[in-house]
């Protein structure tokens, strides 16, 4: 009510020029606010409006705590216990092949260029053979061990560290128990199987196998 009154009193017209309008507008706004503050009902309404408006402001200003995302761990690997060593089954050597130092001496001259071998011809390399060859994994000096990309030695019983250099996600899954198989007790001690126990390191892809017999059709159960 008082707003209308004030407008009539000040007599501002809509035909005023822009600059004067702005000037007049700001003073008009000031007058209006003054009117609101003076009228109890309008004051109340203003307080309510400010209060309602303040709530989202409040939330916006509060430090954001993100709800723990179920999928957070998919982006970042969970802080799992990574052991220095894993209890593994013995490496699956071919018969009488180990220790290799029985034939290979550390002082032997080694041709480090990839070439076709005269011995070990039963091994057919089907493991990124375009880019890799034997000495990328087998140590040229000490044949009783393997080596990482930077040359650090790796025991055959820890060959997963070597495989994990290229197959990182697989290694992490293996450590968590998801990849491969663990034998033992679901609630107690478990023994891992080395990568090489299931995947021949020279030809890791599984060969198709013959399935066991299909179930008897129910029509034939008499």
């Amino acid at each position: 009510m008082s707003l209308h009154k004030s407008r009539h009193l000040t007599g501002r017209g809509s035909h005023a020029t822009s600059s004067t309008c702005r000037l007049h507008a700001s003073s008009e706004v000031a007058t209006r606010i003054a009117d609101i503050l003076h009228t109890p009902r309008s004051r109340f309404r203003l307080v309510v409006a400010l209060g309602c408006g303040a709530l989202p402001l409040q939330t916006a200003c509060r430090p954001v705590e993100e709800a723990p995302s179920r999928y957070a761990s998919a982006q970042e690997p969970p802080p799992r216990v990574v052991r220095a060593q894993y209890p593994v089954a013995p490496p699956p050597f071919s018969e009488d092949i180990f220790p290799c130092s029985e034939c290979h001496s550390p002082t032997d001259k080694v041709n480090r260029t990839p070439h076709k071998l005269e011995f070990h011809e039963e091994i057919v390399l089907r493991h990124d053979e375009k880019n890799r060859w034997c000495l990328d994994c087998h140590d040229a000096v000490n044949r009783d061990q393997l080596h990482l990309a930077d040359g650090r030695p790796v025991k055959f019983t820890e060959s997963y560290r070597l495989c994990g250099q290229c197959h990182g996600p697989t290694l992490r899954n293996w450590q968590a128990g998801e990849h491969g198989k663990r034998t033992g007790s679901w609630s107690g001690d478990k023994q891992y199987l080395l990568c090489a126990s299931c995947h021949s390191p020279h030809s890791p892809r599984f060969k198709p196998m013959k399935p066991l017999a299909p179930p008897v059709r129910q029509e034939h159960i008499r």
Binding site: R70, S73, A74, P78, R80, V81, N173, A176, G177, E178, H179, G180, K181, R182, T183, G184, S185, W186, S187, G188, C198, F206, P208, M209, K210, P211, L212, A213, P214, P215, V216, R217, I221, R222
Partner: protein, 313 residues
Amino acid sequence: MRSLPVLPMPAPEPPTAARYSRREVVVMGLFALAATAAESGCAVDKRALDAFVQQHFRDLSPEELKQRLAQMEKRYTEEYGKNVRVSATPPIPGVLYGYALDLSRCIGCRKCVYACVDENNQSRDPQTHWITVLEMDKEHGVDLLRANAFYDHETVPAPGKFYMPVQCQQCDNPPCVKVCPVEATWREPDGIVVIDYDWCIGCRCCVTACPYGARHFNWTKPGLPADQVNPNTEYLGNRPRPRGVVEKCTFCIQRVRNGRYPACVEICPVGARKFGNLLDPEGEIRYIIENKRVFILKEELNTQPKFFYYYGL
């Protein structure tokens, strides 16, 4: 994963003072009528009488249970020649079994099917398999109407196909438990759905209700050759079943309650099967559920199974 309450085992009823309770006497009277109907062979002998008035597993007192187990061991040892042991291992508290299966790895070799048959004393003739391996096209994905359980190739995996083994999913909201008219099947505190083979009446309501085809009925006396019997048996699990009752996968209850893996998990040559305690935050099952894209079969039916399929690769 919400933590589930661990229910205590129900307290067994104390044994009555009399040799047979009043209820048993009434039932024996009925037995006198029913004894003319074949199954007991018309011989009203003590053993048949005891079998007839046999109470529900959960109503047996510890003494009655021990007696019952001893009777069974004697009977099975006589029948199969081996020293068969029957135990009734209680559930481990604080454990809820979960199973995960990697569909990208299963090659459909069926080694799990037959390992289960050997471990769980299933009938060879007529043949009973607790695990069904379904072959489906990669092109159409998981579409059960196109599934084939009877594939027989020279080698597996066949090109363009993937394999999905199905067995009892040990649901948390099992439709089979809901429909059983006599409570012969129930869900144990550790999550395994079990059957009391001596209480089941063979109505096959549960076989009809199971959405996963996991329950199997003994249409005749199971054909279990004596030389293939697994003598370590469990009352609610792999003991030789009588005819006319329903059976199903129990996650190898006789193994898991003693800390071992189920037979199918151990035999899988490609490591597609994973098993563990869902309540253990460090176990591989929790790792899989939290990090892999798991799904469950027929989720819209709200059976809440504990068998999770995923694609690991």
